[in-house]
């Protein structure tokens, strides 16, 4: 692997950390990002937490954008991309505030973006050898979406729910202009390809959540499946949100 740090030098870069009630983990996530590379600006988007997430993040030196109420993960993440866009950042990484994404894995998702091969790189728990095996029901759901999304984007995608990714300025601009609501990662993958941005997956290992709980409960999974299927179906017929630069 080439020296990612050397390639990053001189690029204005930001880490976007969405967090909802993650006071127990957001501090160490910030510290680990800084330990990996002190050149990253870190913006924590507090999606209406009722605990001390914002105070903890500030105490660890991050910029904190506090949403006045819970917007959902899509709205929170897009806030981060708007921040990145308006402040002229050229490179952004997105890392969950719950600690499941390991900042030590950042070089893996940064490398393909830095060497210009792709506009967005997504860390996948399933690509490559270091496979992760979730419970059966969840695995089937992930498989189903991965299959549909792979067909739609004509490229193999294995982890459509991963929020661990790196994007360049084109990706930042796209997400600042348009980002799906509710459960956004699946639709965002399709949207990126539709706008002729290049996408790749790299294998990463993820950790168990260090604190807090997943935003997707068992009860809402059926609603989630139906809604995402509908969004994917309609997405095929949609116009682009931004005029694409012809490659």
């Amino acid at each position: 692997m080439p020296d990612v740090r050397a390639l990053m030098a001189g690029r204005k870069r930001v880490a976007i950390v969405p967090a909802l009630n993650e006071e127990g983990s957001v501090g160490s996530v910030i510290d680990e990002i800084r330990a990996f590379d002190p050149g990253f600006a870190i913006v924590v988007v507090d999606d209406g937490s009722s605990d001390r997430t914002a105070q903890v993040a500030r105490a660890h030196g991050a910029s904190v954008v506090r949403l006045p109420f819970n917007l959902g993960i899509g709205g929170a993440v897009q806030t981060g991309y708007r921040y990145a866009f308006e402040r002229g950042f050229e490179l952004a990484v997105q890392i969950d505030g719950d600690g499941q994404h390991d900042p030590a894995e950042l070089p893996r998702i940064l490398e393909p973006v830095l060497d210009g091969r792709v506009d967005m790189a997504v860390g996948s728990r399933f690509a490559g050898e270091r496979a992760y095996r979730p419970p059966l029901a969840r695995r089937l759901g992930i498989r189903l979406f991965a299959g549909i999304v792979s067909l739609l984007v004509r490229q193999r995608v294995t982890d459509t729910t991963s929020g661990f990714r790196a994007v360049n300025r084109r990706g930042i601009a796209l997400f600042a202009a348009d980002y799906p609501h509710d459960y956004p990662e699946v639709e965002a993958t399709v949207m990126v390809v539709k706008h002729r941005l290049r996408l790749c997956e790299v294998s990463v290992s993820m950790r168990e959540r260090t604190a807090g709980r997943s935003s997707i409960g068992a009860l809402s999974s059926v609603y989630y499946m139906v809604k995402v299927m509908l969004a994917l179906f309609v997405g095929v017929f949609r116009r682009r949100a931004l005029p694409s630069e012809e490659a």
Binding site: P68, F69, H181, D182, Y223, V226, K227, L230, A231, V234, F237, R238
Partner: protein, 128 residues
């Protein structure tokens, strides 16, 4: 028995509903989460319109002997009630959030007025 043309007309109306909802989602005037109930309404009405045997059977269950298509009215009305109730909860949530937004904005403006030198920050003077 349900008259043939009633089935055709009801099916056509359901199809139009489904197409309109689809177009609204596509053009981003309707979010998926608020469209699901409408789509369900359209699909149920379409199925009941075309599946004439089923409609008659259902009419029998609830004691409608003279005119089975009444079931379509009943089902349609039920769905409209559910959609309206759903919208009432959505509006309640929106107005709560609107209150929070107005309060936060007022506090922010107050803070800006306090921290800026005299007269430099005056939101009321803006042309809009």
């Amino acid at each position: 028995m349900t008259p043939f043309w009633v089935s055709i007309a009801a099916a056509a109306a359901s199809l139009v509903l489904l197409l309109v909802v689809f177009e609204l989602i596509r053009s981003r005037r309707l979010r998926e989460r608020y469209a699901l109930l409408w789509l369900l309404t359209g699909i149920v009405l379409l199925v009941l319109s075309l599946w004439r045997g089923g409609l008659n059977t259902m009419a029998g269950w609830i004691g409608i002997e003279t005119y089975p298509p009444s079931v379509l009215f009943a089902v349609g009305l039920l769905f409209i009630l559910v959609v309206l109730l759903h919208y009432s909860t959505v509006i309640s949530k929106l107005s709560d959030q609107n209150t929070v937004l107005a309060q936060r904005l007022a506090l922010l403006e107050h803070e800006l007025e306090e921290t800026r030198p005299d007269g430099e920050y005056n939101p009321d003077a803006s042309p809009s």
